[in-house]
């Protein structure tokens, strides 16, 4: 029952397919058995946390319940492809949890004054620094801080019980990382409440490079029109769109996300490197597996050039598929493929003189005549 409840609760949160998982439900007994087998791990984690925070007490069942909820959210609801988590998987997961952070957040959610004192002492300066960093025009950092603290305290009540946001912290990541996300969201919400029409990109002022990139399309249009007639553009456009869509659809999600971060979100290489610099980064691990460059990468940093190499590989994959699609399915010649390449990359052009292959002009003339 607990498992079913957890699945229902978290599937709605995580966009995971929330159709009744008969396999998961049927393995509920096995799951509970595995969970029970990890009782010593629960006890050890609880003891460690109680030792870390000797000034206040979180009841054992509260703490155990929070850990179970984290297991059910991450190991069952999100990683549902894994099936019923084994004893060893549960143990590893418990070992990776930020136990002391969970304990502290639970103490605060329960309204323990000592817990709040510890939280304030450990994280107040961090919250203030981030709030000052993230504020934009029209918003005072103090408003952000007040709003964050209000949510953490539980400004909303349900059945006369304060609904502290701390209850949503599961301990998979650090409490500080979670706070950073909360502060960012709070700032956006406050900003939107004043200027609801403003887009996210416009708010922080940090999306300038992304906006600049989008300007390339407009800059490219002028010279592009000189080279290709409207008639020819339309002729090859449908083939280009179809081939490009198929090429992009053939990419793995990790590759697509990398492209989206760079080309759509406008992140710089070093910012992407920051996302993947952790050895456990899913994107980093995926590309390292694919590149067969298996090394002990735990200590090596990911630099911009590494990200560029990954992008190069994705471009190569797109280009191979694109060329193959146009040649084999649409029967286009190399010169015609070049025209399609022009169309495909026109939004990326930036005053680069195009090297046309011989015969392109002839094709255009023939097309126009036809």
């Amino acid at each position: 029952m607990l498992l079913q409840k957890a699945l229902y609760q978290y599937n709605s949160l995580t966009l995971i397919d929330n159709r009744p998982g008969s396999a998961a439900i049927s393995s509920e007994a096995e799951y509970h058995q595995n969970l029970t087998a990890c009782a010593a791990d629960f006890d050890a984690l609880y003891a460690r946390c109680a030792q870390a925070w000797p000034n206040f007490v979180v009841p054992r069942d509260e703490f155990t319940g929070a850990v179970v909820r984290a297991i059910e959210k991450y190991l069952i609801a999100i990683a549902k492809s894994r099936g019923t988590p084994s004893i060893s998987e549960i143990r590893v997961f418990i070992g990776e949890l930020q136990g002391p952070d969970i304990y502290l957040s639970l103490g605060c959610a329960l309204g323990d004054e000592n817990a709040w004192w510890q939280f304030d002492r450990q994280h107040r300066a961090f919250i203030e620094a981030l709030a000052n960093q993230v504020v934009s025009s029209g918003i005072d950092a103090n408003q952000v801080i007040e709003s964050v603290y209000g949510d953490l305290l539980g400004a909303k009540t349900e059945s006369s019980v304060r609904q502290s946001k701390f209850r949503t912290y599961m301990g998979r990541g650090t409490l500080r990382g979670w706070l950073r996300t909360i502060i960012w969201h709070t700032s956006v919400d406050l900003h939107r409440s004043r200027q609801p029409e403003v887009q996210l990109e416009d708010w922080s002022g940090t999306g300038d490079d992304a906006l600049e990139r989008k300007d390339y399309a407009a800059a490219a249009d002028g010279c592009e029109d000189l080279m290709l007639s409207k008639v020819m553009r339309e002729r090859y456009r449908s083939a280009t769109v179809e081939a490009l869509d198929r090429s992009l659809a053939a990419l793995d999600d990790h590759e697509t996300l990398l492209l989206l971060y760079y080309h759509v979100e406008g992140l710089k290489l070093r910012q992407i490197a920051r996302i993947v610099e952790q050895p456990r980064s899913a994107i980093r691990r995926w590309f390292q597996r694919k590149s067969r460059r298996q090394t002990d990468s735990g200590k090596s940093r990911v630099h911009e050039s590494t990200v560029m190499r990954w992008l190069d590989k994705v471009y190569r994959k797109i280009s191979d598929a694109f060329q193959s699609e146009l040649a084999n399915k649409h029967g286009l010649s190399p010169a015609e493929i070049e025209i399609c390449l022009d169309l495909a990359t026109e939004d990326l052009a930036q005053n680069i003189k195009l090297n046309r292959v011989p015969g392109t002009d002839e094709i255009i003339k023939r097309g126009e005549a036809g």
Partner: protein, 124 residues
């Protein structure tokens, strides 16, 4: 068109209801690279499909990097024309064999086992 088709692959924000977005706990765990492969796969699939959540992670990266990036110079390779340049390289070899085209690319990771993966970057 690459930008356009990439964008078209993702959902329009309005089509995704707010209660189906990734929550703060998942976003921060992903951002800190705390998720295992089975956990991160559906999260990455969601980030590909959902422009809102992807935008949040992108903003978090900017937010985080603002604290320490002030003194970091922008390198030449930050030029957003990289993909265009790559296609230019590709075009230069169009009609010849793929090996000749891509020999221009570097580094040839799959065929050249280096001493280490990222150490070479540190010299740059």
């Amino acid at each position: 068109m690459v930008h356009e088709r990439l964008t078209a692959r993702t959902l329009v924000p309005d089509e995704v209801s707010s209660d189906t977005h990734l929550d703060d706990d998942i976003l921060s765990a992903f951002f800190e690279a705390r998720l295992g492969d089975e956990e991160s796969a559906p999260v990455i699939a969601h980030l590909v499909a959902c422009a809102v959540c992807r935008g949040v992670t992108a903003q978090l990266v900017r937010f985080e990097s603002e604290l320490s990036d002030a003194a970091v110079p922008v390198t030449a390779e930050e030029s957003p024309g990289s993909l265009r340049q790559w296609f230019e390289d590709f075009r230069a070899g169009l009609g010849s064999s793929g090996e000749e085209v891509f020999a221009y690319q570097n580094p040839p990771e799959d065929s050249e086992p280096p001493a280490d993966s990222d150490e070479e970057d540190k010299s740059s």
